[in-house]
Amino acid sequence: MTAATLNRSEKAAAAERRRRRVPYLLLLPGGLWLIFFYILPMLQLAGTSLKDGSFAGGYHFSWEISNYGAGFTEFSSQFVRSITYAGLATLITFAIAYPLAYFIAFRGGRYKNLLLVLVIMPFLFPFLLRTLAWKIILADDGFVVDSLKAIGLVSHNGRVLATGTAVVAGIAYNFLPFMTLPLYVSLEKIDHSMVEAASDLYANPRTAFRRVTFPLSMPGVVAGTLLTLIPAAGDYVNAQLLGTPQQSMIGNVIQSRFLLVLDYPVAAALSFTLMLAILAMIIPYIRFTGTEDLVA
């Protein structure tokens, strides 16, 4: 009896061990991908950011912390501009996307899917092409500038292209779907009886929105703003095509350091500085908005 029982319990234990291994096996492809294409390049980039030397003479690892100083001295204005433009663009995108997502989620009816396709439609055209199209839209003799002149928002010989406004508008336009989709998903999930319950408990439509609908859409707000703010802060295409060197963002600096000046260490150091700056901004943001409560 004991031998048989032992044998059986051994088998059960082996099955249990196999069962516990399954989640790790499922994680393996993604994990390997992250290690080879995310963590290793990051470490390499971190190493590069601490190198010394020149492109001609070769770069050597030497704990060259001074590379990081460039971000705060030489390129501080581009840093500030990046954060400002990205922040403004995020606010504009949010202001446009929230009502849009709200309408599609609550009033879209049977046109919901069609409206969502329309939101994603710009993605069918390449990013560069879309931004170039904005160059034409905002051109000095284009109808947008003419109309803005007519209502007096732009002075007689003023222009929109090659200004900060154009860059912010371009970013806001390009990232609109990234904001709209998460907002839509979180709004669409809200059970309409929640809003009815608020109304039943003496909340007028405004209070019901403020106390119930908006708080319940917070996961979408956080996801949408992060999906817009983070890539927008590192964007350089909009500044390059719709602005001038006076509108250049930190992304433009990194791009030119990498590809034109071939100053890899400073480019790497700037990339890390940008990443840390963004982390420093979003961690308190996520804490403050308290979305962890809603995920549970």
């Binding site: 009886s193 003496y202 209070t207 319940l216």
Partner: protein, 369 residues
């Protein structure tokens, strides 16, 4: 119309307006007629049930009282005050939703306090009243939790507390027990009745479960296809359903067509067999009626031993013993099949093929439209 005025009668005598009064209320959704010109009056402090199958318009009726739907036609009054066209947040009623609709981002305390907060009640008062209400639903100590941390039954009580704390003039309950399992549902039925007694608020309860309505309600309105079939106490509507739909929806019945022989004495003829119906139940000026009798009102006897006034003879075709009672199917000599339920009193039963006499009292015979 007759039932409505009978229902409204008491309030009319005392001069107090009904807690809820619907006059000619109709609701159309596009081409669909959801509620068809209903009249209804619910007295103060009643536990009132709107009972009917799904799609009968009971939930739409409740939602119109709550203000979530506007009637296409008709008037809704709460304590004599016309509230038709008023938004839910402007009505002195509160609702317990079928899905509970607790706010997941708020604590239990803030969920229960939501209505008071909107009414700008002071912090000390809010705290005291939330405490009292949680005590009423027996969930003291849950203030800091989130709705997702409570069981279904607890969420149900919180939904109730969140509505009751506002001292509504009328509490509306939309199938509140539908999501609970049978045991919990039975407990909550008793619990809801206790709470209604304690707070003395008019409850209007929507349900498709006839047993639930019978257990809890003082008065029931049975709805079907957008109109009210019958209003009355559970006892009244069970014993005298007055409509074929109500007779079938509430329990089971044996139904048969009959010809009126003598309206004044309540004598009718079922295929040549004379039986009597309850006094005053035969409508005047009608020559043929449909009559019914509940299976548990039929007594099964050996031929010739019948005691009641109405008798039929037949043959037992099926016997099912379910412990507390035995159910017989009897093929009568008129060619109809009748069901009879006999209490298990220990007496020997009948077997299939046996000749029997069915008997029942005239007052247990009802007439339906």
């Amino acid at each position: 119309m007759i039932t409505r005025s009978a229902e409204a009668g008491l309030a009319a005598v005392t001069g107090e307006p009904s807690a809820v009064e619907l006059v000619g209320v109709t609701k159309r959704f596009g081409d669909t007629l959801a509620v068809d010109s209903i009249d209804l009056a619910v007295d103060e402090n009643r536990f009132f049930a709107l009972l009917g199958p799904s799609g009968c318009g009971k939930t739409t009726t409740l939602r119109m009282i709550g203000g979530f739907e506007e009637p296409t036609e008709g008037t809704i009054r709460l304590h004599g005050e016309d509230v038709t066209g008023r938004k839910p947040y402007e009505r002195p009623v509160n609702t317990v939703f079928q899905s509970y609709a607790l706010f997941p981002h708020l604590s239990i305390f803030e969920n229960v306090a939501f209505g008071l907060r909107r009414k700008k009640v002071g912090d000390d008062d809010v705290k005291r009243r939330v405490g009292q209400t949680l005590e009423l639903v027996q969930l003291t100590g849950m203030e800091k939790r989130r709705p997702s941390q409570l069981s279904g039954g607890q969420q149900q009580r919180i939904a109730l507390a969140r509505a009751l704390i506002n001292h509504p003039r009328v509490l509306l309950l939309d199938e509140p027990l539908g999501a609970l399992d049978l045991k919990l549902r039975k407990e909550m039925q008793i619990e809801l009745k206790r709470i209604q007694h304690e707070v003395g608020i008019t409850f209007v309860h929507v349900t498709h479960d006839q047993e639930e309505a019978m257990t809890m309600a003082d008065s029931i309105a049975v709805m079907n296809e957008g109109h009210i079939e019958r209003i009355g106490s559970p006892h009244e509507i069970y014993e005298d359903p007055q409509s074929a739909f109500v007779a079938a929806f509430l329990g089971s019945s044996n139904m048969a067509d009959a010809v009126v022989v003598d309206a004044s004495s309540g004598e009718v003829s079922m295929g040549g067999c004379r039986v009597h119906v309850g006094p005053g139940r035969l409508p005047s000026g009608v020559s043929s009626v449909r009559i019914g009798v509940r299976p548990e009102k039929l007594a099964v006897h050996h031929p010739g031993e019948a005691t009641d006034a109405n008798t039929l003879t037949g043959t037992v075709t099926d016997v099912s013993f379910i412990g507390v009672s035995t159910q017989y199917l009897i093929q009568t000599d008129l060619g109809t099949s009748m069901a009879a339920v006999q209490q298990n009193t220990g007496a020997p039963g009948f077997v299939p093929g046996e000749r029997v006499t069915l008997s029942w009292a005239p007052e247990h015979t009802f007439v339906v439209r």
